[in-house]
Structure formats: C-alpha cells, structure tokens
C-alpha cells in the first residue's frame, strides 16, 4: 500500500515537473518573429528561447559556441571557418548543416526589408566546406563578426520552412531553439512549446514558455505578485524597494550594453543652436551636469553613470577619458570665453517617463551654469523624424546596445551613417572606426577606442549620461537565471 502511494506521489511529482510552464511578462508586444526582419529589443527575448544562434555571449561578453562548436580566422583575417554542431534539427525535423548556414546568411543579406544586411555588410559569400563546416568570407577583416553572429544575424531558421512561406515566415517561425512556436495572439501572448529533439534538452526544465506583453509596469508587477507570472522584465526602478521587501520575490539586475545620452546637433550652423556654434559651449553643458545626481533622480539610482558608449566596467572603456566631474564655475568660465554667457537651446525628449525626467533634471542643472534649456517633449516617432531631418538642437536618445562597441559606435560616429544625428563627419573618426573593425586583437582595439574616446571628448557630439540596469523580478523559486548584459532572458538551465 505504502509503495503504491509512493509510486503515485512520484508519478504526480514527475507529471507536475513535466507540465511546468514558465510565464514571462514583457514590457511590449514584440514585432515580427523573423530574425531577418525583426527590429525590437523585446523580440530578442522571445528569440532567445525560439531560435538558436551560431554563437552566444556570456556574462563577460565573450562569444561562446551555440550552434557552432569552434571557429578559426584565416591568416589574412578575411574569412572565418566555423565548425558546426552535428545532430541538430530544426523544429520541422530538417537537419541543421553548413548548407543551412549558407542559406541563412544569404537570406539575411538578400531578403527584402532585411534588418541584418547592415550588420553583415562586410560578409561577401559563404562557402560550404563540408557537411558541418562553413566558411564566411569578408571584404575586409571584421572583428565584430563573432558578436554579430551571437545576435539575430547568427540565428538559423529552417531553410525549408522559410522557402515554403517567404512572405509570412514571421507569423509561424521555424528555428532550432529549445522551444518551438505554438501560437501568437497579437498583443496578448506568444506561446512556445518544448522542442523534444533539442540538442541540449537536458538543460531545459519547462514544457511551455508563455510571453505576455503587459505594458504598464505596475500591472506587470501586480501579475507577478498575484502568481500569474513567474518573471517580469523591465521593472520600474521606483518599485525595487517594495520588491525587496516581498519574501516571495527576487530581483536580478544587470548593467545594460546600451546607454542614455544627449545627442547634440553640431551641424545646425544657422546660429540658432548655441551648442553647434562653439565646442566650448558643449563642454560647458557637459560640465554643468552631475551624472550621479541624474542617475539618482531620474532612475532611482538604478543605472551606472558613464561618459562613453560602453559602461566603465567594459573592457573597451577608454580609461584615458574618465567621467568629468561637475564644475559649474568652469562651465560659466567657458561660456564667457565663448562669448555666449546665457545660451538658449531646445532639448527634445521622447515622451517616455525616464526621458522626460532626464530632461527636467538636465534643465535644472544646466541652468546653474547659465543655460536656458527649453524642453520639447515629442512622441517618439515624431522625434525620430525631426532627428533624421536635423531639426533639433539636442535630443535625449537611448540606445539598447550591442555586445561589441562597434554596434554602439559605427552607425553613430561614421560619416553619413544612419544614426549619426549629430552630423559630425570627420575622416579621422571614420579611419579609427574602420581600424577598430579591422583589428582583431583586443589590446589593439582598446588603443583605437582610447584615441576615438579622446577625440569624441573634445568634440562632444553625444553627452553620454548613464547605462541603465536591466531589472527583472521573479518568483523566488525560479533558479538558474543568467544575468547577461544584453538583457535577454535565457531559458536554458532555468528551473522552478
């Protein structure tokens, strides 16, 4: 009798373990679930359970193998040979091999509307060496390649499924990750089911993952507290104190790869923007700001103050350009020197709550140095349009960040690059950016970035303010969460 009871209990326990569902609250509804077309940060969270990549990154931002097992740069650094994992299948049962790698990279480069084309611009062709070896050929050495392949450009979809459904693949994506796509109800839920043939299935402890977009941070937290969710991303910094007091909940925090900054329109030479007239005005503006104070007031302390495109803890942070201390007297002196003691300019900010708080704090701080900052709160799509047309003085703009500093830099500082809203166009900077791409060794790249940081600190096209913390709150019973700076929730190894 006792044995039967134990057996029944064991069966019940194993059933419960097998039918577990992980419910994750997202801050937004993801966009299209096709790695080639996808654009949003939040979509990358879903992809991390749905689509495996050639590489992943670890806590220290080092590339680690995922679908690849090893890589080898050619002697001239103009190609990389990648050995692939054998025994991997896509969710539709198709085999993953070097042909699939070739198909995917070519799809990323050629599909109409692809958002990966820019990231893979230096890639020219892909050769299939043998069943599990592929070679990626480049037009020039490209050091960020590994981290690019550790993001959406390295995600592999089933060639058969992508060819069968070329126009709407994103509504039924077929990849090779630990979970396969089950259903999506727009703005309500995305349901993924465990993929039984996953190559690393021993590391997967849930049967289903359900992503629920809940825009309001308070409601997201209420759902976690009431037990309807197991984990929520992007907790509001103001809720951290109450979560800490809750015995059922835990918190995780990671400094992001991106930044919050103020982009200055340096090309507005019509005299209407004092920041564009003289670099000393920009320096005075920067010196009027107390970054630690901004972090405290705008982010409740949930960010790391910074003055570069990577956080001070990053190995590529240029130590020769430390965070300048607030110096109102020096700022006033600089303005006097420049002959503009009371510059007036408009600070455009998207209507996000942290953007607006930043603008208000900056306005108050800069006023003490003599600046008259007018805040222009503009809905994001409109602000982007104004920035694109160069119709702004200064713009509070955040960037979600990439694992390699190149992703935070090239498009912002390169001459005529799409995100170069400041309008700075300097051949030396282009040269430094290209050198950072062509140099493969870390110490060499650190030197290049140090030179660029010193240059940027002189011209100040962007005043970097801080690097936000990714804040997650979750059920205390949830273990195995990895805090990787890209802010993506990796389901491998997570248990309840």
């Amino acid at each position: 009798m006792k044995k039967k009871l134990l057996l029944a209990l064991a069966l019940a326990a194993s059933f419960a373990a097998q039918s577990q569902t992980l419910r994750i609250g997202l801050a937004e509804d993801p966009d299209v679930l096709d790695p080639t077309l996808a654009r949003s940060f939040v979509g990358r969270i879903v992809f991390s359970a749905l689509c495996d990549k050639l590489f992943d990154i670890d806590e220290k931002l080092n590339p680690v193998p995922q679908l690849a097992t090893s890589f080898q740069w050619a002697a001239d650094n103009k190609s990389m040979t990648i050995k692939l994992r054998s025994g991997v299948t896509f969710h539709d049962g198709e085999k993953f091999d070097a042909n699939a790698v070739k198909f995917n990279i070519e799809r990323h480069k050629s599909l109409a509307g692809s958002n990966r084309r820019g990231e893979l611009a230096p890639v020219t062709t892909v050769d299939v060496i043998d069943e599990f070896t592929a070679r990626i050929n480049l037009s020039a050495p490209f050091s960020p390649l590994l981290t690019v392949l550790a993001d959406r450009a390295g995600m592999m979809v089933s060639p058969k499924a992508a060819q069968a459904n070329p126009t709407a693949f994103g509504s039924k994506p077929v990849c090779s990750g630990p979970f396969k796509f089950a259903e999506r109800v727009a703005q309500d839920r995305i349901v993924l089911e465990r993929f039984p043939n996953y190559w690393n299935k021993a590391n997967i402890h849930f049967d289903k993952v359900i992503y629920l977009p809940i825009v309001d941070a308070t409601v997201r937290l209420a759902n976690l507290r009431s037990g309807q969710l197991d984990l929520i991303e992007r907790v509001a910094p103001s809720d951290v104190a109450s979560i800490k007091k809750d015995s059922k909940l835990s918190m995780s925090r990671i400094t992001e790869l991106g930044y919050q900054g103020i982009t200055i329109n340096t090309r507005k030479g019509d005299g209407s923007n004092p920041l564009a007239q003289d670099r000393r005005v920009r320096e005075a503006f920067e010196l009027s700001l107390d970054r630690a104070g901004i972090v405290q007031v705008a982010m409740d302390g949930e960010a790391t103050a910074g003055n570069q495109w990577v956080p001070p803890t990053n190995q590529f942070y240029a130590k020769n350009v430390p965070i300048p201390k607030r110096d109102v007297a020096r700022a006033k002196a600089l303005l006097k020197e420049a002959g503009i003691p009371n510059p007036t300019f408009t600070l455009m900010t998207p209507t996000t709550s942290d953007g607006q708080r930043v603008a208000q704090v900056v306005q108050a701080m800069a006023k003490e140095a003599g600046f008259n900052v007018k805040i222009q709160s503009t809905e994001f799509a409109t602000s982007l349009n104004l920035a694109d047309k160069g119709q702004f003085d200064a713009y509070v703009l955040a960037w979600s960040g990439r694992a390699d500093p190149d992703g935070n830099l090239f498009s912002f500082y390169g001459c005529k690059q799409p995100l170069n809203y400041s309008g700075e166009c300097r051949p030396l900077w282009d040269d430094l950016l290209n050198r950072s791409r062509n140099t493969l060794d870390t110490s060499g790249r650190i030197k290049v970035f140090a030179t660029l940081a010193a240059e940027a600190a002189q011209e100040i096209p962007i005043v970097y303010l801080y690097h936000r913390n990714w804040l997650w709150a979750h059920n205390k019973k949830l273990t195995g969460l990895r805090t990787i700076p890209d802010g993506l929730v990796r389901v491998q190894g997570v248990k309840m």
């Binding site: 509804d29 654009r39 958002n115 990231e119 309500d188 309807q228």
Partner: protein, 313 residues
C-alpha cells in the same frame, strides 16, 4: 417604416465613403515618417526605402488612397508591417474580445444606471436621490486607470480572487474568462452607468411632470404602471440614443482599460498601431469600428420606432 429604413440604409454608402476619406486624410496628419519608425533601431537606409515602397509612401496621396480603397473593396485591409499579420485577421481576433467587454460593460451600466435614474427621479429630493447622485458623481469622476489598478491591487494581489490581467477565451475556460473580464467590464460600466443614470433621471423628471402622467394618475393607475409604462417608455428615446453612442464608443476600444488589464481588444491594437505608424492597421481598424458605429446609430433610430408608436405613423 420600411421606406425610412431603406432610405437610411442607402445613405450609409456615401457616409462610409466619406469616412474612408476622413480616416485616410487624418492619418496623413500624423507627424513622423512611418518608414522610419517601422525600420527599428538600426535605421538602415535600404530598409527605410523598402518600407516606403511597400507602403506606397513614395506615391502621391490619391494613388495611395486608391491602393487602399481598392484593397478594401476586395475585402483586403492590408497587412500589419510590424507583425506580418493580415489586418482582417487581427480584427477577427480582437472583435470577440472587444464585443464581450463592451457587452458586459453595457449590461452593468444598464442594470445600474437606468434603475438608479428611475429611483432618483421618482424619489426626487429624497435620500435615495441624493445617494444615487453621489454615486453617479463618483462614477463620473473616477479615472478608469486609477480604479483599474486599485481593483487589481484589492482583488488580485491582496485577496487573490481574480486574475490581475489577461484574457482567456470563453470556449477554453468560461469561468476563467468571466473572472478575467469582470473587473475591466465593471471599470468601463461604472462611468457609463453614471452617465445613463443622470440622463434617465432628467428624462424621467421631464416625463413625470407631463400632463398625460397626471391623467394616468388621475384615472387611478398604480404608481408602478405610471412610472414604468407611461413614464419610462416615453423617457427611453434619449436613453437609447445615448446607450447606442456609448456602446459604439466601447466598440472602438477602451484604450486605457484594455491597457491596464492587458485585454487584447481594439483599443490596444490601435494604440500600438498609432505609436508604430502601422498605417494598414490604423486604417483597417478605424474603418471597421466607424462602420459599426454608423450601423449602431441606424439601429438606435430603428429602436425609436419600437418604443415610440407616434413615430410609426
């Protein structure tokens, strides 16, 4: 009556046509470039050019309108560029949710608003009247998002009786569905009940002081018959108009309430589409909801005939 009905029905065609012009025209006033926002963070110029071409943003306005209206006439409302789903499919997904939420909110509003209005009118200047007026004032002045969050904190976080947010199909789990919908329906119904109560009260007060009501009382009819048969029936016309308008508004999506309770209805769909400049979704959903609104108005006009025999002549 049939003649009137057919005339009204025929008038629908030009009305809907003008609505399409207004929807398309107003959308052009939205600031910002749709291709820029849909291109995402990277702002790849090739992607922007591709999106501009796909959305016909490089064509003159009349050509773009022709593309859209041509599709609409063939039953194709276009595709959401943000999530790669046909707009018609999105409407089909959201319609039952929005209909149920609007229906439940309306039932709550009618069950509370009309009886409260009658009681308040019949017992004018009594304690009942004051209480009903105070409750109505509370209903009118309570912001939906605030009430919603308070209800979530009470019934979901503290008491654990109801789910905090989300939607379950009634075909999957009827009780789960009702549990998920009751709070948002109450929040929505609350404000409308207050409006209905105020209108019912003033319409009833007017009717109850009419000569025929005095006559009805004089010939010895019971108070119940006087109030319900002679009073309420005549007071119903403005209430029906108002009810239809409120129901139409609910069908176009309860933006804040859907956001707070994460109800995947038209409100959330349209807000996301506006912020992401997903033009096909905005146009499709607004066209659909405004057509429903026009139909509801027609139905309200028809309902006057049923309650008011004088109009049938």
């Amino acid at each position: 009556m049939l003649n009137y009905f057919l005339k009204r029905l025929a008038a629908l065609v030009p009305t809907v046509f003008f609505v399409t012009l207004i929807i398309f025209g107003l959308q052009q006033l939205l600031p910002g470039d749709a291709a820029l926002i849909l291109a995402g963070e990277e702002q790849d110029p090739e992607v922007i050019a591709y999106l501009q071409k796909k959305m016909h943003l490089d064509e003159p306005l009349p050509v773009r309108y022709a593309y859209w209206i041509g599709g609409v006439l063939q039953g194709d409302l276009g595709e959401s560029l943000r999530i790669q789903e046909p707009v018609l499919g999105l409407i089909k997904d959201k319609l039952p949710v929005t209909l149920q939420l609007a229906g439940m909110a309306m039932v709550i509003a009618l069950l509370v608003g009309i009886p409260a209005g009658i009681v308040s009118a019949v017992g004018k200047d009594t304690a009942w009247d004051y209480v009903a007026n105070m409750v109505a004032l509370w209903g009118l002045s309570t912001p939906n998002f605030w009430l919603g969050i308070l209800l979530i904190l009470l019934f979901s976080v503290s008491l654990g009786w109801l789910p905090a947010s989300g939607y379950v199909s009634p075909f999957e789990d009827l009780w789960g569905n009702l549990a998920a919908m009751i709070m948002p329906a109450f929040v929505l119904g609350n404000g409308i009940a207050a409006v209905l109560m105020r209108h019912t009260r003033s319409a009833m007060l007017q009717v109850l002081s009419a000569d025929y009501v005095r006559t009805a009382r004089a010939k010895g009819l019971g108070e119940r018959t006087v109030v319900l048969k002679h009073g309420l029936r005549n007071a119903m016309t403005p209430i029906i108009t108002l009810g239809a308008l409120e129901f139409g508004t609910l069908l176009s999506g309860a933006v804040l309430t859907e956001q707070v309770f994460s109800i995947p209805g038209f409100g959330k769909l349209i807000v996301d589409a506006v912020f992401n400049r997903d033009y096909a979704v905005i146009q499709g959903v607004v066209l659909f909801t405004s057509s429903v609104y026009i139909l509801l108005n027609l139905m309200a006009d028809m309902a006057y005939f049923l309650v008011n025999p004088r109009l049938r002549g």
